[in-house]
């Protein structure tokens, strides 16, 4: 690419982050820093039972012995874990039971983000758990879902109301010893969502959690736990945004999914945390451990992610395919622009017989962005006839960005079929000129071409989300092509 194209690239990729506003709220926060005392206070604020505090302390003590992982293709400045606020909650008189109880400022904030907390005004077919900083502020449609035996609540509430389920499943897929950030999260997680779909129930609406970081100097550490009993089905969506700030903020989450026989969970993410400014100042550090287990035969987990935000993304939504004939899917679009870095991918662990997995990863790099796909496909000894198909495509916009692919394949069973395809391409000048010649300007052309490139993944999203994601891709790349 020659020098003349840089202005075009810059022009197309310098879009403004739309969700960077701050809501002025009275916060109930703990002081900065991390120690056992803070954890005890946090647990007390959440009215937690003793057993939960014990889990937190165990995780914290283990975390102290751990080292930061350094294998990712990321440059991350040293994070001072004592300089972070681990609990900050918008103050409200009481937990919001009905819509009228929710602080109007919070309602306004979520309205601005396109999320209505008022069930009357809600997009049909969607139930939302809205999480601001450390707590869930409102979960919609809880009652009507409860009629079907579905539990959809904030994690804190589930700890109090459904301790047996939480004790049984929490940490069963991602134990606190799993990795540095998982241990940290297990020690200080403050809220998140819990979903339980009982045997034979097909959840009639999309469940979603909207995560919003608002307070400064605060880390967000949420947990999501989804359990689908025999024959159950749920589609779950997650969206994220944060204000623009010069200082980096930490987000370290855990998502666990447990799927029993013949059940299916579809998990979709549109991650749009503040990515930092065009010089790389500020932005969210996003360290997330997401993993699901297909426990029963013929069970299925499908991950779809559109990652456009965060200064740094470290995230590998994975599937453990234990049940025979279980299926794992991973569809991903990751965009890095300006100084963003992403190291993302998946792990597909084939344990059961006739297990199948598919990986479709589309990386898009622009500006000085660095985008890595990291994946593991493991076929263990007893996984007869396991099949995997992986496709990793990288699209480069401009000549200062990078795309990297780190596929790992470990096969211990001769009957397995594992295929891996990878491509790297640039948006062609000829494609752009072709669009120009039909009257389409370069910026719109790039949006069209990128959305076309990502279409296979976007098609996997629920429709309303797909439209949002398409716009988001275009905005994320405003200012970037040649």
């Amino acid at each position: 690419m020659n020098g003349d194209q840089d202005p075009i690239i810059n022009q197309v990729t310098q879009g403004e982050y739309k969700y960077g506003f701050v809501t002025v709220l009275d916060n109930d926060a703990l002081p900065k820093g991390l120690n056992e005392d803070i954890i005890r206070q946090l647990s007390a604020k959440k009215d937690e039972p003793e057993w939960m505090l014990e889990i937190r302390l165990k995780a914290f003590r283990y975390w102290l012995t751990m080292k930061l992982p350094d294998w990712a293709h990321l440059k991350i400045p040293v994070i001072d874990y004592q300089d972070i606020i681990y609990y900050s909650a918008p103050k409200s008189k009481k937990p919001a039971g009905s819509f009228e109880d929710v602080d109007p400022e919070l309602v306004k904030t979520f309205d601005k983000l396109g999320i209505s907390l008022d069930e009357q005004k809600h997009l049909s077919g969607f139930a939302v758990d809205a999480v601001m900083d450390s707590i869930s502020v409102k979960t919609t449609f809880k009652e009507s879902l409860a009629d079907l035996g579905i539990i959809f609540s904030s994690f804190s509430e589930a700890v109090r109301e459904h301790p047996d389920l939480i004790k049984k499943y929490m940490g069963s897929v991602v134990p606190y010893r799993d990795n540095f950030y998982a241990a940290l999260n297990s020690a200080v997680f403050s809220d998140g969502s819990f979903v339980f779909i009982p045997k034979g129930v097909r959840c009639p609406m999309e469940l979603s959690t909207y995560f919003r970081i608002n307070a400064a100097n605060t880390g967000q550490f949420e947990r999501t736990l989804i359990v689908a009993e025999e024959g159950a089905y749920v589609s779950y969506l997650e969206g994220c945004t944060a204000p623009k700030r010069d200082k980096n903020q930490l987000h370290a989450a855990i998502v666990e999914i447990v799927v029993h026989t013949d059940a299916e969970v579809k998990y979709s993410t549109v991650q749009n945390w503040y990515p930092g400014d065009k010089n790389g100042k500020g932005g969210i550090y996003n360290f997330v451990t997401k993993r699901g287990i297909c426990l029963g035969d013929r069970s299925k987990i499908s991950w779809t992610q559109v990652e456009t935000g965060s200064a740094v993304t470290w995230k590998y939504p994975s599937c453990i395919l234990r049940g025979d004939s279980s299926v794992g899917e991973f569809y991903s679009v990751a965009v890095t622009n300006n100084h963003q870095q992403a190291d993302t991918g998946t792990k597909m662990i084939h344990i059961g017989k006739n297990t199948r997995s598919i990986i479709v990863s589309k990386g898009i790099s622009a500006g000085k962005g660095q985008n890595s796909y990291r994946g593991l496909v493991r076929v263990s000894k007893n996984a007869e006839n396991a099949r995997n198909y992986s496709q990793c495509d990288s699209l480069l916009l401009g000549d200062q960005c990078g795309a990297h692919t780190f596929p790992h394949i470990e096969v211990d069973n001769q009957s397995a079929t594992v295929e891996h395809e990878a491509t790297t391409s640039k948006i062609g000048e000829d494609q752009i000129f072709y669009c120009n010649q039909r009257g389409i300007d370069t910026e719109t052309a790039v949006g069209l071409i990128v959305n076309g490139y990502a279409r296979e993944v976007l098609n996997k999203l629920p429709m309303e989300f797909a439209v949002e994601a398409q716009k988001l891709l275009q905005i994320s790349l405003e200012g970037s092509v040649g």
Partner: protein, 250 residues
């Protein structure tokens, strides 16, 4: 409508067009013929605004306005259409989405409201029928996996959708068998209007049996060396391009 005056253009410092003069009026069809490397495709690309070529001299006016300073998308919106010799594939972008974006961008330029979905789909249906195009085409990605013939027909289909004032068809017949060429030519003829014009670039005379031009120009060495009516094309067919080259050197 189009007035080209002493146009010169180069690529990588090598001059390809060495002073082209051409006047095209409403309702006219001009054929530009010439041997390989004579500058035919360069002329088409320069008129469409392809920036790999540098204009080194001359002027071009389109409907009285200087053309050479306009961005390629502005030229398209003003009514210049280029039928590509090698249409480009855009994976994952459906023809419907592509055409709808193009039409609405052009309408915006002309200060018309966006076309709504049902009007657009009706237009698409009508034009497909007019161009005798397979109706599955609309749901496919732009040129992706199209055969050579399908790509060329898709160009003419886009021309029908956009109804340009000036269409420049760059070797639309190349790579087509006689039946495919007839279909393309029929499509083009259906788009001839008293208020638009066409420049048909071709290496062979045979296309001109089906798209009958008002004028024929022969390009050689970056200049128009001879102009005439359609009989010039027959003469060329008979004597070959060497005849022009030799005559030109004398």
């Amino acid at each position: 409508m189009l007035s080209i005056r002493n146009l010169k253009a180069a690529i990588n410092g090598k001059e390809i067009l060495r002073g082209i003069n051409l006047e095209v009026n409403e309702g006219e069809v001009h054929a530009i013929m010439g041997p390989n490397g004579s500058g035919k495709s360069t002329l088409a690309a320069v008129l469409a605004g392809r920036d790999i070529f540098t204009v080194t001299g001359g002027e071009v006016f389109f409907d009285g306005k200087p053309l050479l300073g306009m961005a390629p998308e502005t030229r398209a919106r003003a009514g210049i259409f280029l039928g590509f010799q090698y249409p480009v594939e855009i994976p994952g972008v459906s023809m419907v989405n592509f055409m709808r974006t193009a039409i609405n961008e052009q309408r915006k330029y002309r200060e018309l409201p966006e076309m709504n979905a049902s009007d657009f789909l009706k237009l698409m249906r009508d034009k497909k029928a007019l161009m005798e195009i397979d109706s599955a085409l609309a749901s496919r990605s732009v040129n992706e996996g199209f055969s050579g013939g399908e790509k060329k027909r898709n160009e003419i289909f886009q021309m029908a959708m956009l109804e340009p004032r000036l269409a420049i068809l760059d070797e639309t017949d190349s790579g087509l068998d006689i039946d495919a060429m007839k279909t393309v030519a029929t499509g083009v003829n259906r788009l001839r209007r008293p208020n638009n014009a066409m420049i048909v670039i071709t290496h062979y005379q045979r296309l001109l049996n089906y798209i009958v031009p008002d004028f024929v120009h022969v390009l050689s060495g970056g200049r128009i060396v001879r102009s005439g009516d359609k009989t010039l094309a027959y003469e060329l067919e008979e004597k070959g391009y060497d005849w022009i080259k030799e005559e030109n050197q004398e």
